[in-house]
């Protein structure tokens, strides 16, 4: 099958408008006869479900959580970008488009990204109308902050809980439709397979997580808003339940999986404390505005710090290595996420890590200088001419508290360290996956009637995502893009009538899902699911993580395949299939991660270049920076499933850049 991205003709800035003017529409009376299934209720799934229901479609929404409000979009802290240019600082749709393309290291699709930038302003209007309490200034107008190295202030925020507030906005829109009966909500349900009838996605098989019942649900189209797959690393900032299962089952039913190796590793997370750790916690990137990142310059100091015999504050200025400032004098601590993360790894690999755990992985994020700087400013403002050091420190800490108080509290809660007095210890962690199901301009996968939106698709962020853009994409897809594009498809379905679930296709899919569950339950192995998940995570982190080599990737592919074999031989899933069984849920998800992990490594191996979140040791410049190979690799890798990951077939969806010039990113 050849891939057609279906990008509308015409100039970039008119594509979306022309497209909307020319698509087929479904008349309101007919919409009542059309059912749509939406998997996932985060920003993408939630906003899509609400909007489709408003338009008149019958929506069935599914989430594995006990309420749609708990989807992991809720954990996004920093903010949401929109080209409103309220600050009058030169922002525009084009600039947001350009920043996103460049930030993605020229590996995303121009037309999709331009549309994203174009609808970004509507998102803010919509959310305000829904009662999302964005931060405001004293004049009562919306406030903005700057983010992630761009040159304008275009990020709207609600303290450090922007994702929560936006998700509650989408959830409220859903609630209105649930109350009207236009959305039928299935909480605590997990999609186990998608049902294809005559080449079209016509329904799903889902498991009721409370009763264990396997259910059939039919619809005229299936929308996957099931999020990313960062949990393939076991430790990540994703929620414990975040999984690839829905997307992976769709992949196994024919949908291509695009760019699985593009993973964002966020530089400011709290380091691993021990082998029993279950997940990692991220702290907003905004901390890098005032914190200086460093490690000891001497190996013996690093060791003493790890042992606890030397306090970081006792290390003299000349014995510290502010490595980001040293390597990237012009951007310093504000280099993009991928660059900052790799630099931290480089120092820790060289033995300068400052955390006493198995891997010694951790660097300092120090606010002492900022506290002094702000303290002096405050003293001047307050007219204290002969302020003592203590007074200055106290004033400075107050300023830092107002800016980052909640983050400092969170850090203290988790680590029991006081970051006002001693530098924070941070380390990069897996945060977001840019890859996902391949979609065309309509956000439809290559399987007819199956759509992928939000983090579940691959389309907008290329090889690296800019801060505050994930929320923008999720809501753009769900509120403003999918509702148009799906209508164009469903216009052909007005005479189809209700889809029966009493067909051989549903029968077969249900049997397969039941068989897989029974296989896991009856396996009677000796090791718990987490044992395999942790092992997979270690392989991924060490060999398919922040920097990748041919050798490591080949090893990873082999190790994952054998781990998968061991899993099916030796996993123990207690309990029964027909009851609430959290181990069974985990087992199913880990089984899918064990397949995805291998494809992930294959994709990383195939991409013989370094770009964004994908860094191959073989492809770097003399001074260790990423080396992109546009001539050979300016394409989307779309993988077709043919029976097992090792047999997956690569399809290349070429990326044409007609509006931007491909440049090497430099932050020196």
């Amino acid at each position: 099958m050849s891939l057609d991205s279906k990008i509308p003709k015409g100039p970039l800035k008119d594509k979306w408008t022309n497209y909307k003017n020319n698509i087929n529409l479904v008349n309101p009376a007919n919409k009542r006869n059309i059912d749509v299934i939406v998997i996932g209720t985060g920003l993408a799934g939630g906003s899509a479900a609400a909007t489709l229901a408003e338009l008149g479609y019958n929506v069935k929404a599914f989430c594995y959580q006990d309420s749609p409000r708990r989807a992991h979009s809720i954990a996004a802290q920093g903010g949401i970008n929109a080209a409103k240019n309220y600050q009058g600082d030169g922002d525009s749709t084009y600039r947001l488009f350009y920043d996103t393309i460049k930030g993605g290291d020229y590996r995303s699709r121009e037309a999709n990204v331009y549309r994203l930038a174009e609808v970004s302003t509507n998102i803010i209007d919509q959310c305000v109308a829904q009662g999302v309490p964005f931060a405001r200034d004293y004049g009562g107008l919306l406030d903005n902050r700057s983010f992630g190295g761009v040159l304008v202030s275009r990020t709207f925020y609600a303290k450090g809980q922007t994702g929560q507030q936006l998700l509650l906005g989408a959830y409220s829109a859903m609630n209105r439709q649930i109350a009207k009966g236009k959305i039928e909500m299935f909480n605590r349900h997990e999609m186990l397979d998608v049902v294809i009838v005559d080449g079209k996605a016509r329904g799903i098989i889902a498991r009721n997580l409370v009763t264990g019942e396997i259910e059939r649900h039919s619809a005229h189209a299936v929308v996957l808003g099931s999020g990313g797959y960062g949990n393939v690393f076991f430790l990540s900032t994703n929620a414990m339940g975040s999984n690839v299962t829905a997307a992976w089952k769709a992949h196994k039913k024919g949908a291509y999986f695009a760019n699985p190796c593009y993973t964002q590793i966020h530089p400011t997370c709290i380091p691993v404390h021990g082998t029993q750790q279950s997940k990692l916690t991220l702290m907003s990137e905004s901390l890098r505005n005032d914190g200086r990142i460093w490690v000891p310059a001497k190996l013996e100091d690093a060791e003493a710090v790890r042992k606890g015999t030397l306090k970081p504050t006792a290390i003299k200025e000349e014995d510290r290595d502010y490595y980001l400032e040293r390597r990237y004098p012009s951007f310093g601590n504000l280099v993009p996420r991928d660059v900052a993360s790799r630099a931290a790894k480089e120092r820790c690999d060289a033995g300068f890590g400052v955390v006493d755990n198995d891997t010694n992985e951790g660097v300092f994020l120090d606010f002492a200088a900022a506290i002094q700087r702000y303290g002096k400013e405050e003293a001047l403002v307050k007219g204290i001419s002969d302020a003592s050091k203590e007074e200055i420190t106290a004033l400075g800490e107050k300023v830092i508290e107002t800016k980052y108080g909640n983050l400092f509290d969170m850090y203290k809660q988790i680590t029991d360290d006081n970051p006002y007095k001693t530098p924070m210890r941070i380390y990069p962690a897996v945060h977001y996956t840019m890859g996902g199901l391949w979609v065309d301009y309509n956000l439809m996968t290559n399987v007819e009637g199956m759509y992928a939106i939000g983090e579940a698709n691959f389309s907008d962020h290329g090889a690296n995502r800019l801060g505050a853009s994930a929320l923008m994409q999720g809501l753009a897809d769900g509120y403003f893009v999918l509702p148009y594009t799906i209508g164009d498809y469903l216009a052909n379905d007005i005479r189809t009538g209700k889809i029966s679930t009493d067909t051989p296709e549903f029968e077969a899919a249900e049997k397969k899902a039941t068989d897989e569950i029974n296989k896991l339950i009856n396996n009677n192995g000796t090791k718990a699911v987490d044992y395999f998940h942790k092992k997979l995570g270690l392989i991924m982190w060490n060999k398919v993580g922040m920097s990748r080599t041919t050798e490591g990737l080949n090893e990873a592919i082999a190790e994952i395949a054998s781990l998968r074999e061991e899993f099916y031989k030796d996993v123990r899933v207690p309990g029964e299939a027909n009851e609430l069984n959290q181990e069974l849920e985990k087992a199913g998800r880990v089984a899918d991660f064990l397949e995805l992990g291998e494809l992930f490594a294959r994709d990383a191996l195939e991409r013989e270049e370094s770009c964004g979140g994908h860094f191959r040791e073989e492809y770097k410049t003399e001074d260790g920076e990423a080396l992109r190979r546009d001539a050979e690799f300016a394409y989307v890798s779309a993988w077709e499933y043919t029976g097992k990951p090792s047999d997956a077939i690569l399809h290349k969806d070429k990326l044409d850049f007609e509006n931007v010039e491909l440049k090497t990113r430099s932050y020196k």
Partner: protein
């Protein structure tokens, strides 16, 4: 960070096979827990021991493990989300406990929160309260007026945010001697009552949401203030006063 002494604990955990079964407190000794572990990681360790022994692991709700999704619950040593203030169970760390301590772990208790299994309860009553009016009736057309068309006083916007910060965990219900959902309902009513966009439907909203909460079986508010103390997001009972005010004026005029 990690050199601290390990903890040996006795856990008393509520076990209940399903919603219809009778439950009981079971005792589990647990050794060598790092004080740096989170409370839920401690339960993970218990579960892996139970699985290895061939017993069934303890079911409990959890997801984001960073204190924002509201999935985790648990009534720990007589308080929802345990002894620490302004944290959810997932952000509670074992350093808040003593070596040798006995820890009681029970599900949130309320008629409206029936136990599903072990420590998991069904909080969908909260969703149904939101269905009754926890929204502003505006379609997602993308053609609403410009976001800055109506300025909102910063103080009101901030206040609305503090109300909106509710994570819907149900600790207020669990802490309340009457299993009242007043703080939860009031937070939502307040968020919208404070914003011009929400004022249009304010009267119906407060009447319908309160009615639904009572229909779900949540109790009356005795103003004990326990909810505010136990709320992991520090939501103030001032919201309840605002709800009472809104309800009074709506009852008179509607």
């Amino acid at each position: 960070m990690s050199a601290a002494k390990k903890l040996n604990l006795t856990l008393k955990v509520w076990r209940q096979k399903n919603g219809n079964a009778k439950g009981s407190l079971e005792t589990y000794p647990l050794k060598d827990i790092s004080p740096d572990s989170s409370f839920l990681e401690m339960l993970d360790i218990l579960n892996s021991e139970l699985i290895n022994k061939g017993d069934s692991p303890v079911s409990f709700d959890h997801d984001c493990r960073e204190g924002i999704c509201g999935s985790c619950s648990l009534y720990i040593n007589g308080e929802p989300h345990g002894p620490s203030r302004l944290v959810t169970t997932c952000q509670l760390h074992m350093r808040s406990f003593e070596d040798g301590e006995t820890i009681y772990i029970e599900p949130f208790r309320a008629k409206a929160f029936p136990v599903i299994k072990d420590l998991m309860v069904d909080r969908s009553a909260f969703d149904r309260i939101q269905h009754a009016g926890g929204y502003i009736s505006v379609n997602t057309s993308g053609n609403t007026q410009d976001a800055n068309a109506i300025p909102i006083e910063k103080e009101d916007a901030d206040e609305a945010f503090y109300s909106a910060a509710c994570i819907g965990c149900g600790a207020c219900v669990a802490a309340c001697k009457n299993a009242s959902a007043s703080l939860f309902v009031a937070a939502k009513v307040s968020q919208y009552a404070l914003l011009p966009q929400g004022k249009i439907e304010a009267k119906d909203r407060v009447l319908n949401m309160v009615k639904q909460a009572e229909k779900e079986g949540f109790g009356p508010c005795s103003n004990t203030g326990a909810c505010e103390v136990e709320c992991p997001k520090g939501i103030s009972i001032e919201n309840i006063a605002r709800m009472n005010r809104e309800f009074l004026s709506a009852s008179i005029s509607k």
